[in-house]
Amino acid sequence: MEEDKSKSENPLKVNRRHFFSQLSVGIGSLALGSLLIPDLFKGGKGPLASQPLGIPHFAPKAKRVIYLFQSGAPSQLESFDYKPTLTKRMGEDLPESIRNGQRLTGMTSGQDKFPLMPSAAKFAQHGKSGAWVSEFFPHIAKIADEICIVRSMHTEAINHDPAITFFQTGSQQSGRPSMGSWMSYGLGSENQNLPSFVVLTSRGKGNSQGLYSKLWSSGFLDSKHQGVLLRSGKDPVLYLNDPDGLSRSDKRHLLDHVSSLNKIHHVETGDDEIESRIAQYEMAYRMQMSVPDVMDIKKEPESIIKLYGEDSQVPGTYAANCLQARRLAESGVRFIQLYHQGWDQHGNLPNEMAGQAKDVDQASAALILDLKQRGMLEDTLVIWGGEFGRTNYCQGNFDPKNYGRDHHPRAFSIWMAGGGIKPGITYGETDEFGYNIVKNPVHINDFHATIMNNLGLDHEQLIYKYQGRRFRLTDVAGNVVNDILT
């Protein structure tokens, strides 16, 4: 795959030595390949090892992803993981046999007691599938039969930054490419006039954690795969519009000249990034036309606006971003990453979480319904979830009306819909305390492997060699969770 990249993206770097090394490999492998028994030298490598880039490895079930990231880590115990035992044993200390040495964050490591705290939100079963959803999410409850709730996610990180970095890049340390960049790298773009990876952010009133552009960085991949942050308001992309008095044809001339200069420079230095830069200028030129068009929510009829909730008319809200996400998906953006901040309820959880839920509940559910009526759930994968879960014990004062929960990596819930995921199922199970997973655990690597699988990519074959080491989104782990696939 690395070879393919150097050929397709950078023809100039094929110098004499390069040519000869490829030639000899070519002739050598030709001879061996045809003369010896075909399987003899194949070893463990599958037939995919030399796949060209920008094409799925196998027929995909999803063409694009909308990832509704709930930044800060919403509590699974007040949303999708119903634990009546916590009510029965309210206030009792979490048995050590259950905690089993789990490390604590600095925020609760000083606590000498870990009193079990039940959910302030009531639960009920919904839909034909009988999925448990709390009253904080009445709209999501109504689409329970469209989604697959995974209650057995787990991670290694216990703090926001490493945890969210892990989810976005497959590694707790920053520097690796974001998921969206990997998809853009592996699948190419569907619409040449828009970036293939787009980011939209919004913020609730709850306690929130920072978001940094490193989360949508392309890492060591070509910078054209980087996520493009679209802002709310008049200028979705900063500096995209031409200054007054510059006509489009002037702009064209300008770009042509700049690009011919850049090409000269590229011949001299052979630096890949110059090519990327040329491509990005061209993309920006086309985006001057395409972006305002996609971002123009005014074209949406009243009934759709209402479906997503009144908020959707207010630029910069989660609801507006959900509607935007649908429009971007329709326009062929591969990976649409939303972040909604404010889910970090160390205290005042019942109130804050109800507020956060109100921000996202209707719009998330509306997005699913809207995609469904457009037939887009057939090839769009929607993911909803945070970076880890929250503890089953109380942080701070023990008050069932106003309590907090700390970070919990061992078990949490997310949901997915469309794009080859079985609708109307609940997957995985935690123990009666909601602390440990007892059935079908899904690690972040497995989650990544599964998403890639649905997009037609073999996570073991999408590889990028950098600084002498081969990298994958799933690094050296990950199994596709076949049980939740259609």
């Binding site: 194949k42 796949q51 490895h57 009253e135 109504k142 019942p350 209707q362 319904l369 037939g375």
Partner: protein, 478 residues
């Protein structure tokens, strides 16, 4: 005339090898090869190229009445002998030998013996007799046939047949479960390695009898007992298990296919059972029907080849053309609205119309011309013409698209008149008709005609009202 100038030991070597080959062929069944010798057999596919080239060259030179250089003939003869012997070694790994291998073996041996005969004649100054000419002609033919049979062993019998004739036969309406379903699954995934010419694990899978007989580790199939059938056990092993079938790198059976095999064995592995014999409540019936519907992606194998350069020429900033998967000729095309739209943007794709499986024309102001083009895409399975100004007149053109599975036609002007066209799409699985002029009567008619269709004509009104009316989030907590 050629001189007898080679040293005598070459003659001895040739003589020795000839005797050895004769011995091998005669005492085949008594020979038990040490593994080193078996390993020598592995070189057969490498060495065999030498006698092919050298013998053909020598024979051709002879037939053109030129003097065949002695050295050439010597090397050709030696290589023919070595090839035949290594081939024999390789062949002993397959027991019992299938027809193909037997033919290949005897013809290969024939080539070697003829070469030796020719060598002997020429050493004795009998170069230009008619006998030698005859030998040369026969050698050319024999080398060709031997090579061809060898090719069929490694690449499959239909390697040189006209591409694709038999495998893609449609499953009949009322299939025999064994012959048309089970055997088809085995034929696609297993029989390539488990046939009389290449019986891996000493297992043949070409008939029920052979399956019951089994291979190295006993019966592969226990009638009525899938759990104890070796064949099923291997299908269920994790992919990374050495014993998983089919082995590493080959496409595994789908869950449905595995269940079909299991259920068929559980029901007694009959070869006369037909689909119509099965009760509707019998799970096998459902699985078989599912498989009959699924035949689709296999049919992509017969699509015409299209070059990457063609795709590059046809693609533009507004027309994205992608292969659905690598090495596939099936294409997925998305068109986006350019500032200066011209129907030619779409109709230019005519050249590759047969390869288009998915076509997304959402939001493009398409009219008659474009729809005429769409009608040419006979293999189309997925069509998006939503948010377009289509009316019944243009929609009518879609009639012949027999492969359609998914059709998005919401926000168009089609009316009940188009229901007749839609009713004919027997393979249609999902249809999106929200915001069209089709009436409730039309929808009912459609549902009756296509009971398996998932018909979406918008969000359930009741549900929609709940969304639109008011946020219901609990105020008590806030």
């Amino acid at each position: 005339m050629a001189q007898k100038n080679s040293s005598p030991w070459v003659d001895y070597v040739i003589f020795g090898l000839t005797v050895f080959l004769v011995f091998c062929l005669i005492f085949e069944s008594f020979i038990d090869l040490p593994s080193l010798v078996a390993w020598l057999g592995r070189w057969h596919p490498l060495i065999l190229h030498f006698p092919i080239v050298l013998l053909l060259m020598a024979a051709a030179i002879g037939l053109f009445n030129r003097i065949v250089p002695k050295l050439l003939l010597t090397i050709a003869t030696l290589s023919a002998l070595v090839t035949a012997i290594t081939g024999f070694f390789l062949g002993t790994e397959t027991v019992p030998k299938g027809d193909l291998i037997l033919w290949h073996q005897w013809m290969g041996a024939g080539v070697a013996f003829l070469a030796v005969l020719w060598y002997w004649l020429s050493t004795n100054h009998l170069q230009q007799t008619y006998l030698v000419k005859g030998i040369q002609v026969i050698l050319i033919l024999l080398v060709g046939f031997t090579g061809h049979f060898g090719g069929m062993i490694t690449h499959g019998e239909d390697f040189l047949a006209m591409p694709r004739s038999k495998k893609l036969e449609k499953i009949p309406e009322n299939p025999l479960i064994y012959e048309h379903i089970v055997h088809r699954v085995l034929d696609n995934s297993c029989i390539g390695c488990h046939n009389p010419n290449k019986s891996k694990g000493e297992l043949l899978m070409t008939s029920i009898g052979e399956l019951i007989k089994g291979g190295e580790s006993g019966p592969a199939l226990v009638v009525g007992d899938p759990v104890n059938s070796e064949l099923i056990r291997r299908l269920h092993l994790p992919m990374e298990d050495e014993e998983h079938m089919p082995p590493d790198g080959k496409k595994p059976l789908s869950d449905n296919e595995i269940q079909i095999l299991e259920r068929w064995i559980a029901l007694g592995a009959s070869d006369t059972l037909k689909l119509s014999d099965l009760d509707n409540s019998e799970p096998l019936a459902g699985m078989v029907k599912k498989m009959m519907e699924e035949g689709t992606s296999n049919s992509w194998a017969k699509l015409p080849k299209v070059a990457d350069s063609t795709l590059q020429n046809l693609a533009s900033d507004y027309v994205t053309i992608q292969r659905i998967s690598s090495n596939s000729q099936a294409l997925s095309i998305s068109v986006f609205l350019p500032p200066d739209y011209d129907p030619k943007n779409i109709t230019d794709l005519k050249r590759i119309s047969n390869n288009i499986i998915e076509l997304d024309l959402s939001g493009i102001p398409i009219g008659e011309k474009e729809m005429e083009f769409v009608a040419m895409c006979k293999n189309l399975e997925w069509l998006e013409v939503d948010r377009t100004p289509l009316t019944d007149t243009e929609f009518d053109k879609l009639k012949g698209l027999a492969q359609l599975r998914v059709l998005k036609a919401y926000e168009t002007g089609i009316t009940d008149k188009s229901v007749a066209v839609l009713k004919d799409f027997k393979g249609l699985k999902s249809l999106y008709l929200w915001e069209t002029q089709i009436s409730e009567v039309g929808f009912t008619e459609l549902k009756e005609a296509l009971p398996n269709l998932i018909l979406d004509h918008g969000i359930d009104p009741e549900l929609k009202r709940e969304f639109i009316e008011k946020d219901t989030i609990v105020d008590s907590i806030q």
